[in-house]
C-alpha cells in the first residue's frame, strides 16, 4: 500500500470515536481472542489508530482474529465501539484485497447458492429421517445482483477478471 493519507471513513471514525479511548483495557479484559492469542490486543489497536499508524493495523492479520462477540463494545466506558471499528477496518482491508480465504469462501458460496454453507449428505439424510420439509432453492440472481451493485469484491483475482 502506498497510501499516505488515512482514508476518509477511517479518519472520521478516529475523530468521532477512537479519540475518546483512554486506554483502560476494559476491552481486553474479557476479549476471547486475547485469551487464546495474547498478541491480539484491541486496546493497542486503538492506540495505534490514534497515533496514526493505520496502515500497520489494516495490513495486520490481527484484525481478522476478532470473534465479533461485542464484549468490548459493551465494556468500553467511553463508547468507542471497538467491534464496530474492527468491522470498518476489515471492510477497508477487503477493499485492498487483504481478506483471508476463510472469509471469502462463505461469500462465494452465498453467490452460488444463497447460503453461506452447503447442505451435506448426512444432513440431507437426517432431514428426511426427522421428517423435515425439503429445502427450497434461493433465487441467486437476486443475491448476485445485490452483491454486484453494492460493490462486493471477492478477492484480488476477481478484480483482475
Amino acid at each position: 500500500m502506498a497510501e499516505k493519507e488515512m482514508p476518509e471513513e477511517l479518519k472520521e471514525l478516529v475523530k468521532e470515536k477512537v479519540h475518546f479511548c483512554y486506554q483502560c483495557g476494559s476491552c481486553v479484559g474479557s476479549c476471547p481472542t486475547a485469551r487464546a492469542i495474547p498478541e491480539y490486543n484491541p486496546r493497542k489497536m486503538m492506540e495505534k489508530l490514534i497515533l496514526g499508524e493505520w496502515e500497520e493495523v489494516l495490513s495486520a492479520k490481527l484484525i481478522w482474529l476478532c470473534t465479533m462477540c461485542h464484549t468490548c463494545y459493551e465494556a468500553c466506558p467511553q463508547g468507542v465501539g471497538i467491534s464496530h471499528i474492527v468491522i470498518e477496518l476489515r471492510n477497508l482491508a477487503t477493499e485492498r484485497g487483504l481478506a483471508p480465504v476463510g472469509f471469502l469462501e462463505g461469500a462465494k458460496q452465498m453467490a452460488a447458492t444463497g447460503w453461506t454453507t452447503q447442505l451435506t449428505g448426512a444432513a440431507q439424510r437426517s432431514r428426511t429421517e426427522l421428517g423435515l420439509p425439503e429445502i427450497k432453492a434461493v433465487n441467486t440472481e437476486e443475491i448476485k445482483k445485490l452483491m454486484k451493485s453494492t460493490g462486493f469484491r471477492f478477492a484480488q483475482e476477481d478484480e483482475r477478471e
Binding site: Y22, Q23, C24, G25, S26, C27, V28, G29, S30, C31, A34, R35, P38, N41, R43, K44, T71, A75, P77, Q78, G79
Partner: protein
Amino acid sequence: MDEEPRIGIYVCHCGLNIAAVVDCDKVAKEAAKLPNVVVSKDNRYMCADPGQELIKQDIKEHKLNRVIVASCSPRMHEPTFRKCVESAGLNPFLFEMANIRELCSWCHIHYPEEANEKAFDLVKMATAKARYLNPLEVIKVPVTRTALVIGGGVAGIHAALDLADMGFKVYLVERSPSIGGKMAQLDKTFPTLDCSICILGPKMVDVARHPNIELISYAEVKHVEGYIGNFKVTVVKKPRFVIEKECNGCGECANVCPVEVPNEFDENLGFRKAIYVPFPQAVPMKFTIDREACIDCYKCIEACKEQGRDAINFDMKEEEIQLDIGTIIVACGYDLYDASKVKAYGYGLYDNVFTALELERMINASGPTQGNVIRFSDRRTPKSVCFITCVGSRDEKTNIYCSGFCCMYTLKNALLLREHYPNVEVNVLFMDLRAPFKGYEEFYRRAREEGILFLRGRPTEIYEHPKTKNLVISMENLSTGEPMDLETEMVILSSAAVPTTGAEKLARILTVSRDASGFFMEAHPKLKPIDAATDGIFFCGAAQGPKDIPYSVSQGSAAASRSGRIMAQGEWEIEPIVAFVDAEKCRNTKVKCGICVTKCPYGAITAEEGKAALVNTAKCHGCGTCVADCPSNAITQRHFTDAQIIAQIHAALEEKPEEKVIGFLCNWCSYGAADLAGTSRFEYPSDIRVIRVMCSGRIDRDFVLEAFKKGAGMVMVSGCRFGDCHYISGNYNAEKRIKPLFAMLPRFGISPERLRLEWFSAAEATFYVKLNKEMSETLKKLGVERIRAENEKAKPFLERMLQQSGG
C-alpha cells in the same frame, strides 16, 4: 431623559481573547461613525484600572451620558463597569454591555471575517439600545437576619455553626432522623486517619446546643417563595410518633420492640428495631418509629410508661412550619451511585461484592460486625481483597464525570484494611489514581509503602466461583498488555457520588438550575463557586459536586460568610428592572381586565376595579411576563423596554437581514448556555444576533413579527426547560404566546421553520451549538432569495398586525 445622548464606546481586546479574532481597532473606528457616538476607542483590558480610568476621564472630558463596553458577558463584568460609571457621576443604568467574547470571538475562532461582522453588529445593537436607556434608582429591600441551612451533613453543620457564631439565627433542616450525613457513617477519614465520628460528633452536639441554631430534623423543605432577604419557607416535619421534648433517649422502647429490620445507617448489613435511633451518637438523641415496619403492638408505650414517661404518640400528624428567611444555604449532599446498575461487577448478585460504604460500616467498631471485615457467604475474614475504582464514574453509560474523592477513600479503606489485618493481600485496581490535594500524594505513597498492590486496568467483568464463592476478576494487566484473571475473596466497589435523591425536587422548589450531571449549578465556575444564580441562595458541599471532607467544610464556611455578608448589611440593593404600569394606558380603568394580575407568578400586581393596575416593586422579580401580555401595552419593564428591544432588532437587521437569526435568550438558562458554549470554545455558525431578556416570558409576539418585518432570516425564542423557569412560569406563558405563530406565519407566506421555540438549560451548551448549526442549515436550505420573497409577501400582513397591537 431629554438631553441628546452622548455615547462613548470602548472595545476591549481582553488580551488576545478578543483581539486574536476580532479586529478591535476597526470595530471601534466603524462604531465611531454611528449616530450620537462621541468617542469610540479600543483598549487592551477595559476591566483593569487603566481601562476604567479611561472611561471615567472621558465621561468628564466629553460629557458622556451613555457608556458602552464591548467585551465579555454582562453576567461577568456588568457590575464592575456599572460601579465605574457611577463613580464618575453617571447613573449606572446608563451603561450597556456588548458581549463580543463569549458570544463572538470565542465561538467563531476560525472565521474572523464573520466574527468581525458580528462584533460590529453587537456593538451597534448595544448603541441602539443605549439611546433609549433611562437612569434608574436602585431598590433597597430589608433583609431578615435569619438563615436556612438545608441538609445536616458536614458541610451544612459547618455553615450553620459559622452563621450562628456570627450571631445570626439559623434553621437547620435535616431530612433523616439525625444530622451527621455521610460522614457519620464513615470509620476514618483521609489523609490522616482520624476517627470520623470522633471529630464530627462534637460538632453535631454543638449544633444541638447552640442557642442560635434551631434544628428541625426529620423534616423537608416543601415550598419557598420570596426573594433575597425575604424568603418565605414552608418546612414539613414528618411525624416521629415520639414526642421530642419527652424522649430522653433511654432506649427501653427499642429493647422491647419485636420487629427487626435492616438498618439503613449500616447500609442494611445490620439491623435496627422498628423504633430506633440510627446510630448511638445521633443528634437529636430522639427515637423515631418506622411505621412501615411497626406492627402496632404498643409494647414501646408500655416500656416508656415504665420509665415514668409518656413520649410515644401514635396519633402524631405531619406538621407544617412557616419560616421567614433572609438567605438559604443548600447542603443536601450526595448519594453513592447504585453499584448494582453496573451489572458486570455483580453487586447484588454475588455475595462477596461490597460497596465502599458497606466496608466502611463493617470496619467501624460500632458497626454491625463490631469492626470485623467478613464475607457474606461464610462469615470468614477474607485472605485477599480487591478494590475497584471508578464504579459509576468516567463512563458514558453511567456518569461521565470523575467523582473526585473515590481514589482517596479507596486508599483509605485499603490502608485501614491493611492496618486491621496485616496478612490480608490488598489490591487496588485503578485507571488513574487522582491524589491532587495537600497530603494526598503522601497518603498514596504511604499506601504503597504498606505493601498495598496497585494494578492499573479497568476490570471488564466479575464472576463468582461456584464453590468457593471467591470472585474472579477479568481485566487487562496494562503493564504487560495481557488479559488476566484475578481471583480474590472479596471485592469492594468504589462507587461514584451522584446527586442525592430529591435534589431535582429541591432545585424546582428553589428555582435554581442543576448542571448536566444533576448537581446544583453555581453562578460562575470560578468566581462565584458558592452562589446560585438566584441572589440569596448558596451551595456548599457535595450538593454542588462531589467533594471530600476538607473541601466540604471550607465550602460550608464559605457559604456562611457569603450569606452572612448579605444579612450583616440589614438591607440589600436589588436591580430596579421591575415592571411599572402607565395608568393612562391601562384599560382596567374602563373595562375589567386584570390579565397582568393572572400572569404575575409572584402576585406582585393588584388591579382594583375601575383603577389602573399597580405593581408592588418589592415583590416584582422583573421577569416581564405581564409586560408582554398586556393587551394595551400599558406595562413597561425598566431597562428592558419595548423601545430598547425594538431598537436592538432594527440595529441587528440593518445589513443583510436575510442571513441573520434574531435570538431572544433568557438571562438564566439560554443566555447561560450561550455563554458556556463560548467559555467551552465550541464553534458554531455566526448567524445569530442575541438579544438578552430576563425571562422568555418577556418576549412579545410583536418582537418576532417586527423582526420578520425588518427582513430577518430566522427568529429563535428560547428559555429554560419547563419546570426550571427562574420566574416559575415565564416559559409556559412564552410558549402559549409564541406557539400560535407557527400556525399564523404560513398564512402570511413565511415558512414555519424560520421560527424556532426552544427550551434548554444553562448547562446545555452542546444543545445551543447544535441548534445554531441546524438554524444555519435551514437558512442555507431556504436561501436568501426565497427568504426575501417570503418577507416581501408577508410585509403588509405583518404591518397590519403590528398596528393592531399598537406595537
